[in-house]
Symmetry: D3
Subunit: 292 residues, 6 copies
């Protein structure tokens, strides 16, 4: 059976970031400790492991950090991005220059832990709404410079991506509505200005506003900070004409009730800005043996 590749990432897309992160850690003088202690030419092998159960994202990104220091590194992958692993499970085995393993360790783990943390949180929310058609999605509340990778981690966790920026879809918010005078006028202005492949979503705070929005040619509504009952009524009003997105303070605890209201999407900013890192580590092996 064919595996679709919505988790495709080219090294071109992440290597500059990894390179920059390595430079950030090496500074001007390099790894003082390893350079002074570890003889050149020593080989080592190690395993990237998860210390806790979680959903993996960024494994190839992490491995690229080692490879940028040792192009001859060999890797055996035990899992792939999107897989859920148990605590203590091996993610990948690495063999290469001891220097590369020691020097790139922290950089690799910083990527892997952060991205897997996001994937794990997403996975949990996806699981929480299982049985309902609702999909879990993200926001633009991402960490500066890391948006593309964080959105990738959302996909790895089984979520769907929202806008990647201000330029790939229209989201009309309260301030836009105030400045335009009405939802209708805001939508009209946008319709005139954007291309035919741009979708339009309108954020509404009340069912009153929703009613107004539904009179306009739009693709989706963001139902902001509504409770399950309000959402249920909103979904009824929309009746499948546009996509419905629930947003605002949704947690793992509240997700299921909100999904039960029948919305198409649940979005949560905390998935990217506040998901705790997954605890991952590099366990080096055979160092003593190598010393003989």
């Amino acid at each position: 059976m064919l595996t679709m590749t919505s988790l495709t990432l080219y090294p071109l897309q992440y290597e500059p970031l990894v390179r920059h992160a390595l430079e950030e850690d090496l500074g001007r003088a390099g790894d003082l400790t390893t350079n002074a202690i570890v003889p050149a030419g020593v080989q080592a092998s190690g395993r990237l492991v998860a210390r806790r159960q979680g959903c993996i994202a960024g494994l190839e990104v992490a491995v690229s950090a080692f490879r940028l220091l040792d192009p001859h590194l060999t890797v055996v992958f035990h899992c792939h991005d999107g897989d859920v692993v148990d605590a203590a499970e091996t993610l990948a085995e690495l063999r290469g220059a001891a220097h590369a393993l020691l020097v790139a360790e922290r950089t690799a783990l910083n990527f892997l832990g952060h991205l897997s943390g996001i994937a794990t949180a997403t996975r949990r929310m996806v699981d929480a709404v299982q049985g309902f058609p609702a999909r879990v999605t993200c926001t633009r509340k991402t960490l500066p410079g890391l948006r593309a990778l964080e959105k990738y981690a959302i996909r790895a966790g089984g979520g769907a991506n929202h806008r990647f920026g201000l330029d790939d879809a229209v989201l009309i918010k309260d301030n836009h509505i105030i400045l335009a005078g009405s939802i209708k006028e805001a939508v009209r202005r946008v319709r005139d200005g954007v291309g035919h492949l741009v979708k339009i979503e309108v954020e509404v705070d009340t069912l009153e506003q929703l009613k107004e929005a539904l009179l306009c040619p739009i693709d989706a509504v963001l139902l902001d900070n509504m409770n399950a009952a309000q959402l249920k009524e909103a979904v009824r009003m929309v009746d499948g004409r546009v996509i419905t997105e629930a947003s605002g303070g949704i947690t793992l605890e509240t997700a299921r009730d909100i999904a039960a209201a029948g919305v198409d999407l649940l979005s949560a900013g905390w998935l990217t800005h506040s998901a705790p890192a997954l605890d991952v580590a590099l366990d080096l092996e055979d160092l003593a043996a190598l010393q003989d």
Copy 2:
């Protein structure tokens, strides 16, 4: 009274990051929504506010995002980095082009929320150990590309900085010790290789190892994953000869007990990699009034 300036940051140090974050959000086409809806020349004013109590970090960084789009922006600061603010408190008042306020909002908040989240977590741990001499410090478990700002947020929260990278101090870990054969040999190799302004810290897992480390000319010991009792004994053994740092799984709950053991420093990776963002927002004002 004079205010010392350990929170000094020059725009030179953060503007490239902010500029990059704006580019990340603007993409190739810019803000489709605002460009289509908001007439050129409209002015607006708004307030950066905290939605929850917390310690602020990154306020000038955040404001620079608006200023990069509107150089004539005026700002009145109500607080400064390092201040603890209450929920609903105004951090700064901004007045400038409506476009700049709407377009840079998310970028500014992403910086401010993340950095204030770190400062807030740090502040809480600092408060938790109050009364003891122990200082709170960070690790190299930072998010790629953001290390300098995250370390700055640690200082804003009242913490102290650990190494900024592999190159500004020596930290001898278990793998280094294995590869050198002994702590003594590892320290000897390092002493020969590094400059006179570089300090040396050794990570030890047991009191046995600590004893060996204390025979070497070192500046600090990292006491890894020890409980309060072990730490107390370690501090007794060290007897002020070197700096003592407790590390490994320290939380807001366990911090006080660990500080009570008498160590000089508590370090915690989660302050930078897993502290939840502080909820901050931009409240625009007078938009309706401006429409008249």
Copy 3:
């Protein structure tokens, strides 16, 4: 009356390109001729003029080249991007350091001529289809590094933007269909993978394919290389259910007939990759007078 701002561009978005173009022209040694001949401190004034009738785009971009060399430059704009000007018409008056005017002249004109050339071609095609609802749009056949500005010039000329890249909408082409096995399967795979704000367009070569496409949940069809009669039939078949885009070899001569077929959009790659530059110049004034 309010002017909408779909032509908004921030200096942040174009200054790096202008800076790079100046560096490309200055090389390592700077302007050998001007440096040797023109005394420091000489002021000059000049007018950016169009040598031929055309639609202007990139005027502020061009002016920024002068300003990067003389921050005290004063400018009086006689027109704005999107305006159609006559031959010999003045676009802007500049006054500043003679060095800045002479050194940045070519860089400024290279931007202005290229972008106005695109806007002019677009404007002509928009005029050609006047009276029909069809809008003129562009493609991804742009010059490397200049896409955002070229797409901006399309808007200045009265056109609408198509995709800015591979990532802001889905366009299923023949090869995708072959690899998926059918249009239906291709659309299914995409629907599963992309976010709710991403639109889907399918390229079809025949009415047969169009029929298949219309059975799928898509937003637009690209009718490739069809003649006016085929397009008319296609529009009839679509019957307003999805957006229709005619593409393939459309010229100023054929545009009107194609628009008459009733399609929503005409797209043409040559607008960006082959539109001749508009002839623009910088006429310096008063140089002799300044010498007295």
Copy 4:
């Protein structure tokens, strides 16, 4: 027989541009369509073909776009830069990851079409002046960021390069002359200021000015906007003492007459700023076969 290598380009010189162009097209989210539809690991083969007769430039540049996504790509070149090919002729055969071929296609073609368009225009003008000693040359009217490649395309088309920037030769224009007071004074100032390997050209509008210029120690004259008769007289006056360059509105139609006047060089800005792209394409093969 030896082939000289004035068409030498190192990947170092163009890869950053190609990388940037790929990033421009991939955006933050990558190729939504291909990622969703094409399974990982599918191989494909294709041919870069010319849809019209023309002179090729940028073939290796174009191929590098595919290689940056698939380092294992194999290529068989059927021609090289500078070759004139017929419509439908294959330029190169590629075999590699289907993803790489689909994703890099547009970027590769944008380079190849633009550069081959310039080479083709140049080649036509070179052919137009065949039999006369005049060489065809370019100007600084290039597209921002692409100057080195466009000048390369001029060479591929059989043309010669003019200045690459303001810093590699002196070109004294009307404004310089006005500011210096006379051609003589302008040349004197330059002679004093520039190195011994810098040549000096003076732009003259009239035969009167030419007379004045010929009294000065210069290397070349640019005869601006003169007709064939004036050029003939100018060439007679110069009598081989300096290089003569005709410039100003030279087209494929007028080139031969101008060359017949005996000038050494014809320069034309439109070769770089307005030459239409050559129609090139990537024809994928065997996709259906590969599906079995």
Copy 5:
């Protein structure tokens, strides 16, 4: 009287280098010492002074380092690039934030000392050959990344610039001659390949080779490692037909004899790669007074 501006440098040309040098010195944590000790808001004034007699180059470059940290810095220049100053002479007075003066001091002085060192060495060699027509020139033996500024310093010292790179003139060396088979063939190949504004220089080791070179259409000869007598004979043979450049081990001691041989140019690599820095300093004033 008018001052020509061959020493023109735009901030655009050097600010990125100065910015990078500041970043190199600030590292990730900034100026630990100044940040901890100097209160925010303290103003200071200081003088850039020369500790030894020398020729100044890079004064505005140096000042820009301070200005990048304090845009409100005020500066009074006491001299300009190209001036020869005495020991203890003040170059410029600065007033601004104490932080800016302390933090940028080393960066500013590193530029000023290095460039003034080159200018001073050049000036001395220019003085050494006074009375002879010979000009002093440089080579491509420059420090990586600093070539444009070092060449500028050569001009500030009264010298002339040689090639800025491999691309702005032709210099045929021994290996090129061997690979071409003869000087004649090497020149022929080059003449065919390069533009009309590119000059050609040939390096010769013997008078025999010089004779061969003079039969070719070239612009200059580099007389490599010849003594004064040989050079005299070479100048006689050349008899003004091409420019003559003496090169190879020329020092301040030997320069006059070589100039006396009648060559047009003396080139010396050590001016850029080995000239000792000029001793310059920043003397802060009034600090005690400011404390009151």
Copy 6:
């Protein structure tokens, strides 16, 4: 026996600099001479040689310049960084594309000559103080952009590194002391502000100041511009409690006397800012033979 690796440098750390230096030399048009004369495909071999006795640094950095143009280059190293070689000694043999060898030659030699010049000067000073415990160290008086490599060259020459920037240690100078009011207050402010792995050095001009400094919790003293007798007294006063560094005008001639005073370190700025380049060259071989 094991070789420690304090001379470890990853290509990641220097390749961007080498790449930039090549671009600086290639300019926009590339190597006009080699491109016109040397046929594609010609192979050549050559030897990097030292023309004078010296200590080598930057050999792999230099070789990377060739490799960036010819990835298939083969290299046999005859020595390594840190080795002292005789005049005429071969450092490495290279075989690869003649183009790569000719084009990258100057870039490679500029790195190798500059860094080996620093290493050689350092080695001489290290030799001069042999028999005394004093180590030789550097300063922040480095050339903009080259600090990390220059500090590396200091290590290659047997020296030790001082601070790499303002951020990896504290150095309290006279102006800091004036602004703080006293050494004691300056140290107090710093102690409060910096992390536990940051060392503190105080610069003193007099023995009086030294006395004051020794009452503070510091790690090192910089004894500025003291003569041998004063240094001897200073060392006596310090009595091993802190590290002692002599600085100010130390030359190869005075170094031994100063070391004899018993200080731990001698620092000299001229090692990085004024050490003359080591004369190194690339001798190509077999070119005539290759022509057959």
